[in-house]
């Protein structure tokens, strides 16, 4: 047995075979994702059963059996009819503008366009002139929107102007006195105060100027217009207030801290409904006779205060995440408290809590629907109001209206949450290692 013969020695590599059919393509995916174990297979079957139970009737109702055209309820009370889209079609303008006069609706459209013109460049990171855009959104747009929507021409009495002038003079005097006492050069603080009052006077002059627009009372506003007005004003007003409250809560001054804590915990502990009730029933009692707030404005105040407490907690979360070294570094650079907050702390803190801020905004946007309980007709309010229209009463009308309103709300909220995820990823990039 000297020679052991090796029968076969492979000299080249075996040809690579394609993976078995059961591991690739649709079949492989299904096997791996849906039927990889007995338990999973059972779950899949259950899931398919659930979908089979829900989807076909829903799709039938929404699209196949739905009534798309028609001029009154006749079209929708047919046996076996699905969603009554003809109702939404007929009432669409009302759902958007409420009872805003038809001839003046271009003003709402224009306001919307102005808003989009500001929001789009502000939201897309690559577009330059961010500072100018934000200035436009926070100063120019609100004034323009106010004038367009209400008609401007606010009747400000002579007493108001005198009062403003007296207040300005008093403030200047106090500042001058403090400067003299403290031995500071008075020129620059005085310019700041004077500039502030001049700007204020300019704003009041503009909104009291008669542009020849017809005045439209807020009672006539409704639909998506009111939803957006309440949401945007609430968001814009609650943001600075929330930042101040968050700073107050972390302040070393005991009185400021106590006031902030009480304020925040109070608004967070009560439901928005009671806040709205309070602002609609109690607020008039707190004002002197003759001073009467508009119902929409009262709701706005309630919503803004409520949202600011939530915003404060979100911002506080961000502030807590900033290490102490950042504060000390700002101090070491010789920055004043507000400079340090504005230039060092807040940019970092706010970046950390963008998801929380957007979540608060989404919550606020959804909560605007509550104003219908105090008799304002936002999108949901005007949709439910139209159910009582005998011309369109049918078994499917309420469901159709709600599905439409839900879809509109969903688009806005879902869009905001996607945008926040996008921004979060983008801002996070610098820290990814």
């Amino acid at each position: 047995m000297s020679v052991s013969k090796i029968a076969y020695v492979r000299t080249d590599e075996a040809p690579r075979m394609p993976p078995p059919v059961s591991e690739t393509g649709v079949v492989g995916w299904v096997r791996q994702n849906l039927f990889d174990s007995v338990g999973n297979a059972i779950m899949t079957v259950l899931g398919i059963a659930m979908l089979a139970l829900i989807l076909p009737p829903t799709i039938n109702w929404l699209f196949i059996d739905a009534v798309w055209t028609g001029s009154n309820r006749e079209a929708c009370v047919v046996e076996g009819a699905g969603a009554c889209w003809a109702f939404v079609n007929a009432k669409f303008a009302q759902f958007m503008y409420g009872r805003y006069p038809i001839a003046e609706r271009w003003r709402v459209d224009l306001t919307g366009l102005l808003l989009i013109a500001g929001l789009v460049p502000a939201a897309i990171p690559r577009v330059p002139f961010k500072r100018e855009t934000v200035l436009y959104l926070l100063v120019v747009f609100p004034i323009a929107g106010f004038i367009l929507l209400t008609g401007g021409n606010v009747g400000l009495s002579g007493n108001f102007w005198i009062g403003l002038a007296v207040l300005a003079a008093l403030s200047l005097a106090v500042v001058a006195l403090i400067c003299r006492n403290a031995g500071i050069a008075p020129a620059s603080p005085l310019t700041v105060v004077a500039g502030f009052y001049l700007a204020l006077a300019l704003v009041f002059a503009v909104i009291s100027y008669d542009f020849g627009l017809r005045s439209v009372e807020t009672q006539l506003w409704g639909g998506l217009l009111v939803t957006l007005v309440v949401a945007i004003v609430g968001i814009v007003a609650s943001f600075p207030l929330g930042i101040l409250l968050a700073l107050g809560r972390r302040s070393k001054l005991p009185a400021v801290k106590l006031v902030s804590v009480i304020f925040i915990e109070f608004w967070r502990g009560v439901p928005l409904i009671t806040v709205l009730f309070m602002s609609s029933v109690m607020l008039p009692l707190f004002l002197p006779d003759g001073v009467n707030f508009d119902k929409l404005l009262r709701a706005l105040i309630g919503v803004a205060l409520f949202a600011s407490a939530y915003m404060a907690e979100v911002v506080r979360g961000g502030l807590q995440a900033i290490p102490k070294g950042q504060y000390e570094a700002a101090d070491a650079m010789g920055l004043s408290f507000w400079q340090g907050i504005g230039l060092v702390i807040m940019p970092q803190a706010l970046k950390l809590v963008i998801p929380g801020i957007v979540n608060t905004f989404i919550g606020l946007f959804k909560d605007t629907s509550l104003v219908l309980i105090i008799g304002l007709f936002d999108l949901l309010g005007i949709v439910s109001l139209n159910f009582s229209d005998a011309n369109w009463a049918s078994p499917n009308t309420p469901a159709t209206g709600f599905v439409f309103a839900a879809f509109v709300f969903w688009i806005f909220c879902f869009g905001m949450s996607r945008y926040s995820i996008y921004m979060e990823r983008r801002l996070h990039r610098g820290h990814a290692r």
């Binding site: 779950m43 398919i48 979908l51 009730f277 309070m278 029933v281 006779d289 959804k366 469901a399």
Partner: protein, 400 residues
């Protein structure tokens, strides 16, 4: 500069050249005095206006109205109530209705939320997608809209009592609500309740003893199964031994409506459904985030110690995930309780609808009524968060 000299400087109000204006202490005090004075001034101004306005409108103030006759009916009441009862009794009715829907809603939302949250992490594509869509749909639509949808578009278009749906024999569903048979206990039936209580007490005792023994000796005891067996088995045994002393009184159709039985009003069902489904979507996200927060290394470490997947889940992942889950879960419970005030929109007689709605309109005492309502919610919030903080501190990581 030595500490002493800086203290001297502060006391002197900035003697060494710097103005008092730049002294943080002085600035702090001045600022606080201004804030407090401003707030007190505003409060005084409001109070003065309110006093004048109330006097002019001829509205009484004080809490005397609570003992007056209410004179209105309430559609659901857990305690004895008629329109001859006082406003205070009406307040209690509203409060209990709020608590009822909040407690049941919290239980359902938690169970559903955990199921959906775990389903979102499922390896099964279909289940994961269904759970994701559930969450994305429900949490991006206002709760009020969902409530109105369930109430006006689903429950109101159910058939009339004569054409009631009967999903289970003796249970009827129609536009007046869900009608269940009433459970009537014969003499001796209280023994079943006592048996249930005894079984619960016994299973708590057993689990404590089992934990102690495991810590002392390492021996395990299936306390969960024994406890479940006791809680189900003992009352059942008593039920059979005492000769089944419980009757079901079925509701009967009489004229246009049902007579007898327990009626669950559609407002309650709509509110419960809306609150539970909506909050479950949020809880699902919390649960998902909590489970994802436990790093994969923990699972691997548990496997390398030889723990089976089920024990890993039970002993390693869930305890750590719960730590992350509990704090936000608390705020969801609070949200659900506060959101139950939306009942006013669909006419469920909760605290806001009964007290801040009807009572306020009848008495006109807006200030007192709104303050009491807000105080109740504040108290509920503080109690819930207090309890959850206590629970959280028990669960929290104990560090050296």
């Amino acid at each position: 500069m030595t500490p002493a000299s800086s203290a001297e400087r502060e006391q002197a109000g900035g003697g060494s050249g710097a103005s008092w204006f730049y002294n943080p202490r002085v600035r702090g005090i001045v600022f606080q005095v201004l804030v407090v004075a401003f707030l007190l001034g505003m409060l005084a101004y409001f109070a003065q206006n309110a006093k004048i306005n109330l006097e002019r409108a001829g509205i009484a103030s004080g809490l005397g109205f609570l003992s007056e006759r209410a004179g209105f009916d309430v559609s659901q009441s857990l305690i004895q109530y008629s329109n001859d009862s006082t406003y205070f009794r009406a307040f209690l009715v509203g409060l209990f209705n709020t608590l009822l829907v909040a407690v049941i809603g919290i239980v359902i939302a938690t169970v559903l939320g955990f199921i959906v949250g775990i389903a979102r992490l499922s390896k099964n594509f279909l289940i994961r997608q269904i759970a994701t869509w559930y969450v994305e749909m429900l949490r991006n639509i206002p709760l009020l809209l969902q409530l109105l949808f369930w109430y006006k578009a689903v429950l109101s278009v159910l058939p009339s009592p004569r054409q009631s749906l009967e999903p289970i024999s003796g249970v009827y569903l129609n536009n007046r609500g869900l009608i269940l048979p009433e459970v009537i206990g014969q003499p001796g039936s209280s023994a079943i309740l006592w048996a249930l209580l005894a079984a619960i007490a016994a299973s708590i005792g057993i689990s404590r003893w089992a934990r102690k023994r495991q810590q002392a000796t390492g021996q395990q005891f299936p306390s969960v199964f024994v406890g479940l067996g006791l809680i189900i088995g003992l009352p059942l045994l008593v039920f059979l031994v005492t000769g089944m002393p419980v009757d079901l009184a079925y509701a009967e159709l009489a004229g246009f409506n049902f007579r007898g039985g327990v009626v669950i009003i559609p407002e309650f069902m709509a509110l419960l459904l809306g609150l539970a489904l909506y909050t479950a979507a949020f809880i699902a996200e919390i649960v998902r985030a909590g489970i994802l927060a436990v790093s994969h290394g923990q699972t691997e470490a548990a496997y390398s110690l030889g723990l089976r997947p089920r024990r890993t889940l039970q002993l390693v992942i869930i305890p750590q995930a719960m730590r992350v889950i509990i704090p936000p879960l608390t705020s969801q419970f609070l949200n659900l309780t506060k959101n139950s005030s939306l009942a006013v929109a669909i006419g469920y007689p909760d605290l806001v609808a009964v007290f801040a709605g009807t009572v306020l309109n009848q008495t006109g005492q807006a200030v007192e009524v709104i303050i009491i309502t807000m105080l109740v919610y504040l108290t509920l919030s503080l109690l819930t968060s207090g309890f959850m903080n206590w629970y959280n501190s028990r669960m929290a990581l104990v560090e050296r």
